[in-house]
């Protein structure tokens, strides 16, 4: 069999083909490409672009196909026609047509937008989810939540087609280490500045908490993907009374262990569209006290009051959970210890072993 395997991906690199995009899906695909390369496959990437381009990223050829946001379906059709051979579809929401004998990856339920009507929600699962379940050979899901939601909609199909491989953490890079003793209690938000990640939820509780606890500070480890989100962040920060205790940084992935290490509490306040979040797994592996919401795959990682706090995504619950952890250092330590212990179950090597089996079965060499 041919060794070539084409990976379709929305944007591994930015649309000019220059800078790697920061995001969970992109990291996932890189890790998968590393594994595929080690297994002897010749991997290529095919993605959206401002203008057609061809470049390499870490030795892998990356092809960009001209796209505009309103008509992404035309671009994926063109990619589909241009690429011969076997394909791995890295995102279930990139296409509605699949080649037989292919794998599609679901990174979690993504369409549960709080403002959606039943008809809007239905349009999503009836196109994207149904297409993947009927056409792809296998849908690899990063969490049990997608499997269970899909099965509650398509009992038979989902049961046959979905296989769960939870996301991973590299425990050689993320491991518990003592925080330097300081006077401050630091809360870290290590997510992108997008609506679904719950930035606004955290924003809403910060003023009262900073006023109530003079020893408290917030650290935002945020991306620079979208300039207008960043501008909004700065405008908000500037207007805050205690903004000297609202810190921010734009770390690259290499710097993340140190960012986690300096925190006492890590907040993952997702509102919707979540799988087994890398941020959550990394914070767990670093032994931090985590507050996560009961959304998507976070429910497969955090057991409330065992290895973190699992809350409903409201400002009331978030504020209450933060106050509890700020006031109970021993509880932080207990939750963090259990988080680090349970993170072992998500070791990157286990993820690789599970994927190896799946790849050998679906794309035999």
């Amino acid at each position: 069999m041919a060794r070539e395997l084409a990976i379709f991906v929305p944007n591994l690199l930015d649309w000019d083909g220059r800078k790697p995009v920061i995001g969970g899906l992109e990291r996932y695909v890189r890790a998968l490409a590393e594994l595929l390369t080690a297994m002897g496959y010749e991997v290529s990437f095919h993605q959206n672009a401002r203008r057609d381009f061809q470049t390499t990223h870490r030795g892998w050829p990356v092809y960009g196909y001209q796209a505009d946001l309103q008509h992404l379906n035309l671009t994926i059709e063109r990619i589909e026609k241009s690429v011969p051979g076997r394909v791995l579809y890295s995102s279930i929401l990139q296409q509605v047509a699949y080649r037989p004998g292919s794998i599609c990856i679901s990174h979690g339920v993504w369409w549960e937008h709080p403002g959606f009507s039943p008809a809007q929600a239905r349009a999503y699962y009836e196109s994207f989810v149904a297409a993947a379940l009927t056409q792809a050979r296998l849908v690899v899901s990063c969490d049990y939540n997608f499997l269970n939601v899909a099965r509650a909609i398509y009992p038979n199909l989902a049961n046959h087609k979905v296989q769960v491989i939870p996301n991973f953490v590299d425990r050689e890079r993320f491991y518990p280490c003592e925080k330097e003793r300081g006077q401050r209690i630091r809360v870290l938000y290590p997510r992108r500045l997008v609506l679904e990640r719950g930035f606004t939820l955290l924003q809403a509780v910060i003023p009262e908490l900073l006023a109530a606890y003079p020893e408290l500070e917030f650290q935002f480890a945020i991306d620079t993907n979208t300039p207008r989100y960043l501008e909004a962040f700065h405008a908000w920060r500037q207007g805050e009374t205690h903004n000297e205790r609202i810190l921010y940084c734009h770390p690259d992935f290499e710097a993340m262990p140190d960012v986690y290490a300096a925190a006492d509490i890590v907040v993952i306040p997702t509102i919707f569209s979540e799988g087994t979040s890398f941020s959550c797994l990394e914070a767990m592996a670093m032994g931090k006290a985590i507050i996560a919401t009961n959304v998507g795959g976070l429910t497969n990682l955090i057991i409330d009051n065992y290895n973190g706090l699992l809350i409903h995504p409201t400002t009331e619950y978030l504020s209450q959970a933060l106050r509890f952890l700020i006031e109970h250092p021993q509880e932080r330590a207990r939750l963090g210890k259990n988080a680090a212990a349970s993170a072992r179950a998500f070791d990157r090597r286990l993820w690789e072993a599970r994927w190896r089996q799946v790849i050998s079965k679906v794309y035999p060499l």
């Binding site: 339920v109 369409w111 549960e112 937008h113 709080p114 403002g115 959606f116 009507s117 039943p118 929600a121 239905r122 699962y125 049990y144 939540n145 499997l147 269970n148 939601v149 099965r151 509650a152 909609i153 009992p155 038979n156 049961n159 296989q163 769960v164 939870p166 919707f272 009961n294 959304v295 998507g296 429910t299 497969n300 990682l301 057991i303 409330d304 009051n305 065992y306 699992l310 409903h312 409201t314 259990n338 212990a341 349970s342 072992r344 179950a345 286990l350």
Partner: protein, 372 residues
């Protein structure tokens, strides 16, 4: 001031036409919830389907309403009659989500015990797309009425947010519970037993993975003289129980029996591995929590709320419950006593966070918000 009155609507606590009652998970939940309401100072009465009789159970009056019609797992006549009958009550609890269709009391709470429409057989009831839509439409109405929606697992909340997103703010996650004093690990290791005991503590029904568990038992008892299987639970009728007895009698080291609830802690304590291989229709299983509280590693299916209480490879396993996967998981644990102990210890730790007292506090908070 007299006590505020709560009316609870269910379908079949008692069998509609007899005094037969099987205390399954839902029935136990109802009894415990009524006790909690009384502790909190409420007066509570129950309505269900039946010939118009009134009985009492555990100090609670249970009235029946003579209706039979059920469409799409909803009971419109029952819900309407309950709405009229409970007018003298201050608050209402819809013990099953679909009972809040088509009309619900204003100050009310509805409970979901887990997704039950993920079973392929559900297609027989609502297989056609238009029937599915009608079913979902009715659920949309059921969700709209009550002030709060309580779910025993996060899966149900996530399913509804992905289909009927408008009610996301009403949901409260109150996972099921276990009495961790009653269900506790053995005081000391049972000495000198040289067999590994695998326990299946559920009803003998296909959704619970009974068939796969039996096939796994056949293979593993044939392969290893030191493995034994115990099946402990009722069938849905006498015949199912008779067939199971016959099957167990014809096998080496396979036993079948059932025990009253008060004997279950001892049953769990004597086991080394507990199987909860549900294929669907599952919440945060009481049986799984009880096994965990007794310090036993659980091999569970990837259904419903089981992924809320088990982290695969940490305090148990989450597998697709095929015979092959069950055999592999049981084999792995059966051969590795250290792993069983470690997972069992963690299972107990996790179970402590699902203690009944925590459940009562969570319910107390929700009741305090709605019933005031």
């Amino acid at each position: 001031m007299s006590a505020k009155k709560v009316a609870l609507l269910t379908t079949n606590f008692f069998h509609p036409s007899s005094e037969r009652i099987i205390m399954g998970g839902a029935e136990r939940y109802q009894v415990d919830l009524c006790r909690l309401l009384k502790e909190l100072g409420f007066h509570v009465e129950v309505w269900q389907i039946g010939g118009g009789w009134t009985r009492e159970f555990d100090g609670v009056a249970i009235h029946s309403i003579p209706v039979t019609k059920s469409e799409y797992h909803t009971f419109p006549d029952l819900a309407s009659a309950f709405y009229e009958n409970s007018m003298a009550f201050d608050y209402a609890i819809y013990f099953i989500l679909t009972l809040a269709y088509p009309i619900a009391r204003e100050k009310s709470i509805a409970i979901s015990h887990g997704v039950f429409w993920d079973w392929p057989g559900f297609d027989l009831m609502a297989g056609k797309p238009e029937e599915r839509q009608e079913w979902l439409r009715r659920l949309g109405i059921a969700l709209a009425g009550p002030q709060k929606l309580v779910s025993v697992d996060t899966n149900t909340i996530n399913y509804f947010n992905a289909t009927l997103a408008g009610f996301y703010h009403k949901w409260e996650y109150i996972p099921n519970y276990v009495d961790t004093d009653l269900f506790s690990p053995p005081a000391e290791e049972p000495a000198g037993r040289d067999t590994v005991r695998v326990l299946f503590p559920r009803r003998l029904v296909p959704v619970r993975g009974i068939n796969e568990a039996m096939r796994a038992a056949e293979q593993l008892t044939g392969r290893y003289p030191w493995i034994e299987f115990h099946f402990c639970g009722r069938g849905h009728d006498d015949n199912a129980e008779r067939l199971m007895t016959r099957w167990a009698a014809s096998r080496e080291r396979c036993s079948y029996y059932w025990k009253p609830l008060e004997m279950m802690p001892a049953i769990y304590r004597q086991a080394d591995i507990v199987l909860i291989p549900s294929r669907s229709t599952e919440g945060t299983s009481l049986a799984a929590l009880e096994a965990m509280a007794c310090g036993k590693p659980v091999i569970a299916g990837q259904a419903g709320g089981l992924s809320d209480i088990i982290i695969h490879g940490y305090n148990g396993y989450l597998i697709k419950p095929t015979v092959e996967n069950l055999v592999a998981a049981i084999e792995e644990l059966a051969r590795d006593q250290d792993k069983r102990k470690l997972m069992g210890r963690r299972a107990r730790e996790v179970a402590l966070t699902f203690d009944r007292k925590v459940w009562a506090e969570r319910w107390g908070r929700v009741l305090g918000e709605v019933f005031r």
